[in-house]
Amino acid sequence: MKIKPYSQNSFTPVPSAFTKFRRNCVIWQFFRFIAINIKMTVLILKSHH
C-alpha cells in the first residue's frame, strides 16, 4: 500500500515491522491472551452491582 502525501491516510500512524511481528508472535500473544483475560475479568467483577 502506498501512502500518498496529503491523502486521507497520510496523517495516520502505521505500525512498524516490529509491532506487526509482535501482533502475530505466538509466544508474545500467549502472554497477551492471559493479560486480556485478566483485564476483562477485573472489569466484569467491577461491573456487577
Binding site: 486521507q8 491516510n9 495516520t12 501482533r23 500467549f30 486480556i36 472489569l43 452491582h49
Partner: protein, 487 residues
C-alpha cells in the same frame, strides 16, 4: 406462585429467563415468548458472513434447552401489553401471536405477575430506501440467515475477481441514526482478511461508510487509552488500522438512498454525494419492535410506556433528552431498568429507552441528524438481564419491596472483541474494555477510568473472541457449570 413472562430470547432475555428459572425453581413459572425457534450467538455472524463458520455453528434450537432449564417456551411474538388487565379481568396480561409450535397465527392472552421486556431490535431496513437484503440492494450480517446470504454474495464477487475483474466493496452503516458500528467494523476487516486468503485483495477497493463523527466513536463517544507514553484517542488507532489495511473511509455520513450499484449520502456539512459499489453490507438502524400498550378500558397508552422509537421507558432521567450535550450526566441512565408507571415491568438490552445519546448529537445544515445512537448490546445487555433477574428473585423469594440489583451503564464496564480476521494463527482482533460505558467527565478527566479502559490488536484478541464464542454458546445451552461463566 408467581409467573414471570420474558418477552424476547436474545442475550438479555435468555440470560434473565435462564437464571430466574434456576433460582425460582418449580414453585414459580418463567415463560419466554420469542418468535424464533433458534438462539443465535450474533457476534459470530461476522464469521458466517465470510464463510469462516456455518450457520449451524452459531445457532441452536431453543425448545430442548428451555425444557431442560424449566422455562415455559412460547414460539410467538408479543403484540400488546395490558398492564392494568382489561374490562374482563383484573390480571395484567400480554397478547401474543404464535409463529411456531403448530399454532402459527393463533393469538393468546398470557397473564403475568412480572414482565421483562427484552424484545431486542427491529431491523429497520425500511428507514433507508433500497437498504437491506430482502427488498433492497445491500446484504446484512444482523441475523444468521442474512450472514449466510452475505457470504454467498461475497463468494460470487470473489469468483469474478479471480477472473480478473476489479470490484468496489462498501461496508458500514445505512442511516445517519445507526448504532452497532462495531459489526460493520468487524465485517470490513474480515472481508479484507478473506480477500487476502483468496489472493484477490489487489482486485478490490474497500470503503467504510459511517455516521460517526470520527472513526472509533462506536456510539460511545469514543475512548482514550494509555499507550506508548501517551493518552491517545481511539480515533488514532482506528485510522491507523484502516490505513494499514488499505481501507478508505467516509465519516459523518447519512445514507439516504441505496440503488443497485450506488449509495446516495448526505454529509454533516450538508453536501449530497454518492459512492458506487459492486458489493455492499450496510447495517440498518434499530427500532423498537412496535409493541402496543392498553389500559383497563382498552385505551391506547403506548406513548406512556414507550418512546416514539418504540423503546420502553424505565427509571432514567428523560428530562435530559432536550438539554445540551454538556449538561448530560452519568446519573441520567437507569439503575434498575424498571418502568416508572408499572413497577412490575422491566426492560433490558435494546428494549429500554435510553435517556439520550452517548455520542454528541449532530445535525447537518439541512436538519438531518447524523450521529450514532447508543449501543445496548452484548455484555451490558446480559448484565442488565442478570441484574433484573436477581432483583425479581429477591422480590419473589425474599419479599423485597424494591429491586435489589442495579445495572447502570454509567457504573458498568464493557468488554468488546472486534474480529479483524479469523484463523488460529493468522487471525486478529481488537480487544477493548471500557469503564464505564457512559463517560463520566465529572469523575474522570477523559470520561473513563484509564486503568479500566484499554485496547490492543493482535492474535490474542482472536483467541479471546473464539473463546467467547465457545463459552457463551456453552452457557446459553445450559451445559454443566454454565452459571460460573460470567456475563
Amino acid at each position: 406462585m408467581a409467573r414471570v413472562v420474558v418477552l424476547g430470547g436474545g442475550v438479555s432475555g435468555h440470560t434473565a429467563a435462564t437464571f430466574l428459572a434456576k433460582w425460582l425453581g418449580k414453585k414459580h413459572e418463567v415463560v419466554v415468548v420469542t418468535p424464533n425457534s433458534q438462539w443465535n450467538w450474533i457476534p459470530s455472524n461476522i464469521w458466517v458472513g465470510v464463510g469462516g463458520m456455518s450457520k449451524q455453528e452459531v445457532v441452536f434450537d431453543l425448545a430442548p434447552v428451555y425444557k431442560k432449564g424449566n422455562v415455559d417456551y412460547r414460539q410467538a411474538k408479543a403484540i400488546s401489553i395490558h398492564p392494568e388487565g382489561s374490562s374482563d379481568t383484573e390480571k395484567q396480561f400480554v397478547t401474543i401471536e404464535y409463529t411456531g409450535q403448530d399454532k402459527v397465527g393463533n393469538s393468546e392472552k398470557l397473564t403475568y405477575d412480572y414482565l421483562i421486556n427484552a424484545t431486542g431490535p427491529k431491523l429497520n431496513f425500511g428507514a433507508t430506501e433500497g437498504l437491506g437484503p430482502d427488498a433492497g440492494n445491500t446484504v446484512s450480517v444482523c441475523t444468521a440467515d442474512h450472514a449466510v446470504h452475505a457470504n454467498e454474495k461475497l463468494d460470487e464477487l470473489i469468483a469474478q475477481m479471480k477472473s480478473g475483474e476489479h470490484k468496489k466493496i462498501l461496508i458500514g452503516v445505512g442511516h445517519g441514526m445507526c448504532t452497532c458500528q462495531g459489526a460493520a467494523f468487524e465485517y470490513t476487516f474480515n472481508v479484507d482478511h478473506k480477500l487476502k486468503e483468496e489472493g484477490v485483495r489487489d482486485k478490490a477497493t474497500i470503503t467504510y461508510i459511517t455516521n460517526e463523527y470520527e472513526l472509533g466513536d462506536f456510539g460511545v463517544a469514543g475512548m482514550h487509552i494509555k499507550l506508548g507514553g501517551y493518552v491517545t484517542s481511539g480515533k488514532v488507532f482506528a485510522e491507523s488500522l484502516y490505513t494499514e489495511r488499505d481501507v478508505k473511509w467516509i465519516k459523518r455520513a447519512h445514507v439516504n438512498k441505496v440503488e443497485k450499484d450506488r449509495v446516495h449520502y448526505e454529509l454533516l456539512d450538508g453536501s449530497q454525494n454518492e459512492e458506487t459499489f459492486d458489493f455492499s453490507m450496510l447495517i440498518p438502524p434499530f427500532g423498537g419492535v412496535g409493541l402496543k400498550a392498553y389500559d383497563k378500558a382498552g385505551k391506547d397508552t403506548t406513548s406512556k410506556i414507550f418512546n416514539p422509537g418504540g423503546f420502553m421507558f424505565v427509571d432514567a432521567d428523560y428530562s435530559k433528552g432536550g438539554v445540551p450535550y454538556e449538561e448530560w450526566d452519568a446519573d441520567d441512565w437507569p439503575s434498575y431498568c424498571q418502568n416508572p408507571l408499572y413497577k412490575n415491568i422491566f426492560a433490558v438490552g435494546i428494549a429500554f429507552a435510553p435517556p439520550h445519546l452517548i455520542s454528541k448529537p449532530m445535525k447537518s445544515p439541512n436538519g438531518t441528524p447524523i450521529n450514532p445512537t447508543p449501543p445496548r448490546t452484548g455484555m451490558p445487555s446480559a448484565m442488565m438481564g442478570k441484574a433484573v433477574a436477581q432483583s425479581l428473585r429477591d422480590i419473589i423469594l425474599k419479599n423485597a419491596t424494591e429491586p435489589t440489583h442495579t445495572a447502570k451503564m454509567s457504573e458498568m464496564g464493557a468488554a468488546c472483541v472486534a474480529s479483524a480476521g479469523k484463523g488460529l494463527f493468522s487471525g486478529s482482533a481488537v480487544a477493548m474494555t471500557m469503564y464505564p460505558v457512559i463517560p463520566n467527565f465529572k469523575k474522570y478527566k477523559y470520561g473513563r477510568d484509564l486503568n479500566g479502559t484499554f485496547g490492543e490488536i493482535g492474535l490474542a484478541g482472536h483467541w479471546v473472541k473464539y473463546l467467547l464464542h465457545v463459552a457463551f454458546l456453552w452457557k446459553a445451552k445450559l451445559k454443566p457449570f454454565w452459571t460460573i461463566i460470567p456475563e
